[in-house]
Amino acid sequence: MGEAWGCVVNASTASRELMLGRIRTANAAAGAGAGNAAEEWAAIPREYRRTSTLGREAVLELLEDRLRDYDAHVLRVASEGVAAAVLGMLGERGRTRMLAAPGVTAAWLPEGFAFAVDDGLSVESIDRFEGVMTESTLAIAETGTIVLQTVPGQGRRAVSLVPDYHLCLVRASAVVATVPEAMDVLATRPAFATTFISGPSATADIEMTRIKGVHGPRFLDVLLVMDDVARSA
């Protein structure tokens, strides 16, 4: 689309050369001499923790604790009980008009409950749903964070944002303890748009009082699917 605003691009190109030139001059002036960026990056000391010393069960408990601390509701469920748990959760919340991200594991959808599946709905249409159900890429225990990407089962970013209620399924096998462990996973799949979610939408802009749900979902329910029974034993 460069040709649509050719003049802008031209001015910008001149500024590009100017700015890069200034940076090189400035770094030389400040005595930040040449070097190899990749080598020097690799040499940066990283003495912080990459992993946690906690056992598997403690990590899951930490995740639950941190999510609850941020006003999310969390429930553990065995793999075979997911559909029933989904139904129970929706009943508790009194939500009937629900949207699901395309590609959600079929076995996790309760029978007799009609989910609409997002197939490129307009945002006005998404806004008319009472809630949405998605899966997740991983979860970080120490920070109480769920990570979503634009992939099947998790959908595009708007579906987990516009409705008032988000029901998110997290596989216990995809729970990591620390942020560095999460980034290791994400580094292998960086092309997808990625969203970190830590609790429902919140603000503290008014007298530092934490208020739920300013613009995003006001309610976040997490079903922790125990799919790695062997590991957690």
Partner: protein, 477 residues
Amino acid sequence: MSGVALDPKTAPTFPMAAKVLVGDTQMRKNVRHATDIIQAKRARVVGEMPDWQELRETGRRVREHTMKFLDVYLEEFERKCTAAGGVVHWAKDADEARQIVIGLVKASGSHEVIKIKSMTTEEIQLNKALEGAGITPYETDLAELIIQLGGDQPSHIVVPALHKNRQQIREIFKREMNLPNLGDTPQDLADAARLFLRKKFLTVKTGVSGANFLIAETGGVCVVESEGNGRMCLTLPETLITIAGIDKVVPRLADLEVLLQLLPRSATGERMNPYNSIWNGVDPRGVDGPKAFHIVLMDNARTKVLEDSEGRQTLNCIRCGACQNACPVYRQTGGHAYGSVYAGPIGAILTPQLQEMHYAQTLPYASSLCGACYEVCPVKINIPEVLVHLRNRVVEQKGFFDPEAAAMKTVGMIFRSERRFRAAQRFGRMAETPLVDKDGWIGWLPGLLGGWTQVRDLREMPKETFRDWWEKRGGAS
């Protein structure tokens, strides 16, 4: 302050603005309340991290490394972002950045934009420029909305409306949203904002954002926020325009494992803020997010800062605002006294440098040099060191004939000689006599010295100096 942009070129000097603002007891109460709460939260969640100092050290090293190879990483970012379908623009100064954004908004066919809170767009007074071009900007962050509707200015990097309490916010919303019966709980106010902005989110076709990090390795952009308004602006419009200082780049995605631990804990005292978004260009399948993505990489004197071997660490800042919350000066004056959108200790070193030392020269003096800002800085920017360095530059710039420099030289000359020192003491005792009140206090000094007594009283000099006392007792050998 209402309606007038915080522009270092026109703002009153810090001592003048501060003198007025310390008289606003409501503002000071609001600022103290907010900063007390954030500081307590920060201390708690930082205390949870056994490796906090190691994270800080790596954070510092990553930022220093980035600045050393800034050209390399900006070019890499440009290459990767372009490959992902983004359009990269370069802006040497604020004016060029504004013109690029206005041109892009017009080309998107929109007369209104939804905006995510962004200090960079505040820095270049983008809203005013958009309005001048017939484009209506809607701030969507709750605090920014309060400021926009109130005709106010931000006073904190992270919590820009912390100088307002709920009653004041309620009055603004009642008036501007036409809600005469609005309640006064924080929840009532947030609900009003949700309703007010929802329609804008769903209908406005162009979004404008800042950026927390640009990832050279992937061409990705990261925005950190809490309310979801950021996600709305980033994903719902057809066109997204992001504007970022060139200092926002980080080498690799993996570096976020450090910065995303340091930033939320330092900024809002949370283990992780509710939402982080990372995206690369546009979705090739066209199903997720905007159809067009533009990013404006802005210099605006950052390369000048880079030139200065001591001042350049200022560019390492990740805009967490922890230094503001910890600063005893900021906590008394609030943010508006700084005459810039960047307030507090970081503003005191960033603003004069971004102005290439032509304006805001009193800001390096707006500090007690107590070091609290350095202590809490997640990337270990030695703010006191830079403050002193900038004070030196200010004096150098004022030159030989500056009265303050001349006075200091005179004092130095006096201190070098015992005879001159004794004479000065005698002279001082004589000269002060008409200024001393009956209780022995001096409330006003003439001329240049008046700056000191504007906000302080001074004790009269003792009748007898220590030397005289010592000599009288035969102490002299």
